[in-house]
Amino acid sequence: MSHDHDHHHHDHDHSELSETELRVRALETVLTEKGYVEPAALDAIIQAYETKIGPHNGARVVAKAWTDASFKKALLEDGSKAIGTLGHVSRVGDHLVVVENTPKRHNMVVCTLCSCYPWEMLGLPPVWYKASPYRSRAVKDPRGVLADFGVSVPNDIEIRVWDSTAETRFLVLPMRPAGTEGWSEEQLAELVTRDSMIGTGFPKTPGAPS
């Protein structure tokens, strides 16, 4: 199953990849033979990550906040508690803080020390989020980072960067796009991108090609 993915070689030459793959297999064999893990349980973990988490969870929360003022208020007061009331988006843990973009402030989330990220809301983080360029520059030159994403924020707007240095996890609540009056939560959720919930992008606008 998991070995069927397309292979992209990135910075690694083929011999190094092969060596890593062999070492990973050797470690799994040792862990299994020592009686520490059951390979089928590892398969099940991977399947759970592949199917149960992802940005659709965060998008539902954002869309609900856009349409339900009392939910939004509760969400900003205690993200974990508010999301816990939604049966379909659970397991978020106890330490989620939702931060709201406004016409005066744009929020961005980073983990300069490792890769802390709200997995339950957004899925596993993309490579760029875990890589040196983003981790090094987000806290010093966030507008330059946004430019790398083709995004700009007016110069009179405050940029607030949240460095996830503890077990708190941060989710950005982006601003609702204009032209969506009367839209349902389901329609709105379609506009909410992963990057808009990290703060490196904006939601899609109605009518724009997806």
Partner: protein, 219 residues
């Protein structure tokens, strides 16, 4: 420790390069590494702070030149060897030579899978009242422990304002070194961009970290 992992504010790493339609894993082995780390952690072989520390202690050149899951793999292998769960000989041979040692939460089997998909709980009862309140000015200590810490270098010595109080939580600095949880108050502390980066810094920037109380002095 003042490692290369603590990269906030460093220059020279180039542009951020988002990948269109990025797959969840780029290689099959990456998913196996993720699953092994989650499984062995859930079985009680190590806590999350210890696993972070082992990645941070990879040699700087290895850290910077390894992909994300390669770092996870190297950290996991070394940690399991040092903690006596397996030996270098077994890893080299690709087979167990002796029976495993007892795991705190037992073998990781199918019955445990749901458990890893729920985030851990880090809140703990407070051993003492909070020293700081929202709005207090605080200075991040100028400390340079050679062990694990979550106080990034770029804020050390700088003054910020307490914005949120997250309650008492497990203290990574001791938990990572297996010296106990020693719960500490945790605050979001916000710094002005120009205080961190000087007069050339972005005047519209504010940066916050989550800081444990032992990282802070009144200012």
């Amino acid at each position: 420790m003042n490692g290369v992992h603590d990269m906030g504010g460093m220059d020279g790493f180039g542009k951020v390069e988002p990948e269109a339609n990025e797959p969840m894993f780029h290689e099959g082995w990456e998913s196996r590494v993720l699953a092994m780390v989650r499984a062995m952690g859930a079985a009680g072989a190590f806590n999350i702070d210890t696993s972070r520390f082992y990645r941070e202690t990879l040699p700087p050149d290895v850290y910077l030149s390894s992909s994300y899951y390669k770092k996870w793999f190297l950290g996991l292998e070394e940690m399991l060897i040092e903690k006596g769960y397996l030996t270098r000989e077994e890893v080299a041979a690709g087979h167990a030579m002796t029976p495993g040692k007892a795991l705190k939460h037992g073998k990781f089997d199918l019955a445990n899978v749901d458990r890893v998909m729920v985030r851990g709980k880090f809140a703990r009862p407070a051993p003492a009242p909070a020293k700081f309140k929202i709005g207090d000015r605080v200075r991040a200590k100028n400390i340079h422990p050679t062990t694990h810490t979550r106080l990034p270098r770029y804020v050390r010595g700088h003054v910020g304002v307490v914005e949120l109080n997250h309650g008492c939580q497990v203290f990574p600095d001791t938990a990572a070194m297996e010296r106990g949880e020693h719960p500490q108050w945790l605050y979001t502390v916000v710094f002005e961009g120009r205080d961190l980066w000087g007069e050339d810094g972005d005047p519209t920037l504010k940066v916050s970290i989550d800081a444990f109380e032992p990282y802070l002095d009144p200012a």
